[in-house]
Symmetry: C2
Subunit: 363 residues, 2 copies
DNA sequence: ATGAAAGCGCTAACAG
DNA sequence: CTGTTAGCGCTTTCAT
């Protein structure tokens, strides 16, 4: 019909000139209509829209990007994990990006892969994104500097201090420390003498934040700081930690850096013959969907993923669209401690240490 | 320097002509080098690469897409949920897309939103993707037909029968039924007279598949089919179902359509004074990271997300790059039943019904 | 093995 | 309010 499947393009998709011809206007007017530009009479607009509908016209994004120098897309760098935290954040980001009228490109970094964040950012830059979101990065040690020079778009770093310096870096959601502090204080308020911490993997800024918050809470009350137990976010690591902790009669309260580890921890404690929360209290972090339904229902901290993503993206888009203006200020999200049945006052002091050295599986 | 920050474009990014000039070759040769085209002498290639490196040259994707008619990007439509299944699948898709040399664009559909899949596909088409992946769609009833006409790129539908008809539709991973069947048969092999099913929300094809598999297993052994209990994937719904099921002494085995529901179910059963697996066996689906660490460790089915994504994407890309060729055939993934401690033979028949009507909370 | 010329389909100035 | 004229930076086609 119109055109015999032009060069590279797949089929002969209608172009704006085709619409213009059919509507009896100039090509530029079609462009005006589709960009909601002013100065188009209602009548002409109607005719254009009708013609476009008839032809099944849809703007060519590549041409738009080439001509305007903007792609209206935002890239996000995520860890390639289905962990509840990162996954929830990604969903929040997608929604926020869409709400702001942008499209989303996604690149995962694979833990332990050489390229890391630098490579992912580079790939996004190749794709021509207008802005970049780095979600829950981890500190891989030093390859971040390499990117910095080339990054000429605004960058938003979520749930962490900036992992690298680029001309225009924003941050959002670095509030895990205050949430962790609240969790720890909840345990202290219950009269526990101290609180142990089952930490996440330290390359993760999110894990460090929680560790810091726990430290701050303990320091704030002048409590001794027991040695940190290291986990890797998995329930398996929580279980391993639990076996260790179960044999120490001084352990009456544990703050785990995420719910999965808390669940593994509880399992190990239970198998060792300890009761949660009567013998040991446990607090998790995330409020995963199952947290309320494990045994016992888990006291945990709910993270405001959507709010963080929304606030961050609003500021990122502002930075994109107003390169010269001062960045908007971050609004701080609310801390949300969800108290369930896994926390209680410590056992009476006289009975502490009671049969705590033998592991008698119960299941 | 080169050029004072041309019209729309942000800064004066170097173009291929700049590289060509510096390397003392034609622009076309630069293009050849970057596209790994043949007929470029090693010496020239080296000079071009060096010049490009010096200038910090990076190809402009919009121009490439405009000139070639291909964007080298694949769009994925996902539900906006952090549920383990969909999130895992998304990670697998990202990886597979990247491995195939494409980039990924993501659009979520929000359950209950009017636009639904049709809107998401449309948005992806606007963005000019070369292919589309629809991940774990749900049947929203009828708005799919609207898209079909306009979809001129290959579409891969994961974990479901095609939700709409488009010229070139592929499917992958619709194997939940055989996995569900295996799960049910495991319970039957343990001598349970029948198996109850805690189903997922029926708009989800994934939920329907599991229901079908359960039915097939029961039918295959000539067992009675008890009424289906409806859930919504959440642990909360599993808990609600558990309260119901706990009062029925005929319930000795339950196959839950996902792990979260299984966990909620177990909690309700436990609170009702029933033991798992001594009184009631439970099988989940997904093998979430916590499945092995809840009490009791959950027998469940592990889904081969990565394999499904990889196989599907290989075929999608084949369809993109060989429009005329016959589609590749799907390779079927392996079923992986993980037997843990939540399943056992039913209680002795003489004692069945024992104290099953009163709910005496424990834990 | 390399180069020249001609667009891809749009947006951005500038005229009317 | 509307139209004209130039490119955006590549890939493609065809010459050498």
């Amino acid at each position: 019909m119109t055109r015999p499947a032009g060069r590279g393009g797949r089929s002969a998709a209608p172009r704006s000139v085709d619409v213009a011809r059919l509507a009896g206007v100039s090509q530029k007017t079609v462009s005006r209509v589709f960009n909601d530009e002013p100065y188009v009479s209602a009548e002409v607009r109607r005719r254009v829209l009708e013609a476009a509908g008839e032809l099944g016209y849809r703007r060519n994004n590549a041409a738009r990007a080439l001509a305007s120098g903007r792609t209206r897309s935002i890239g996000v760098v995520t860890l390639g994990t289905a962990l509840y935290g990162p996954a929830s954040l990604l969903m929040g980001i997608e929604r926020a990006v869409r709400d702001m009228g942008y499209t989303l490109r996604v690149v995962n970094t694979v833990e332990g892969e050489p390229a890391g964040i630098a490579g992912a950012v580079d790939s996004l830059l190749d794709q021509g994104v207008d802005g970049i979101v780095i979600s829950e990065p981890i500190d891989e040690g030093g390859d971040e500097g390499e990117v910095s020079a080339r990054v000429d778009v605004p960058v938003l770093v979520l749930s962490a201090p900036p992992p690298f310096t680029a001309p225009r870096v924003l941050t959002a959601g670095g509030c895990a420390d205050v949430m962790a502090r609240a969790a720890t204080e909840h345990l202290l308020d219950l009269e526990h003498l101290t609180v142990h911490h089952l930490a996440g993997p330290q390359p993760w800024y999110a894990a460090r934040d929680r560790l810091d918050g726990w430290r701050a809470a303990l320091a704030g009350r002048g409590r001794p700081e027991p040695p940190v137990v290291a986990g890797d976010w998995s329930a398996a690591s929580g279980y391993a930690a639990g076996r260790e902790l179960a044999s120490d009669p001084d352990v009456t309260a544990v703050f785990a850096a995420n719910d999965d580890m808390a669940i593994g921890l509880i399992r190990a404690l239970t198998e060792a013959g300890l009761r949660v929360p009567e013998d040991v209290s446990v607090v998790g972090f995330d409020d995963t969907p199952v947290a309320a339904y494990v045994t016992p229902p888990l006291t945990t901290v709910r993270q405001p993923f959507d709010a963080v993503a929304q606030d961050g993206l609003k500021r990122l888009v502002h930075a994109i669209e107003n390169p010269q203006a001062d960045p908007l200020v971050a609004s701080d999200p609310s801390v949300d401690l969800v108290v369930r049945a896994s926390t209680a006052p410590p056992p009476p002091r006289t009975t502490r240490g009671h049969g705590r050295r033998t592991a008698s599986p119960s299941a």
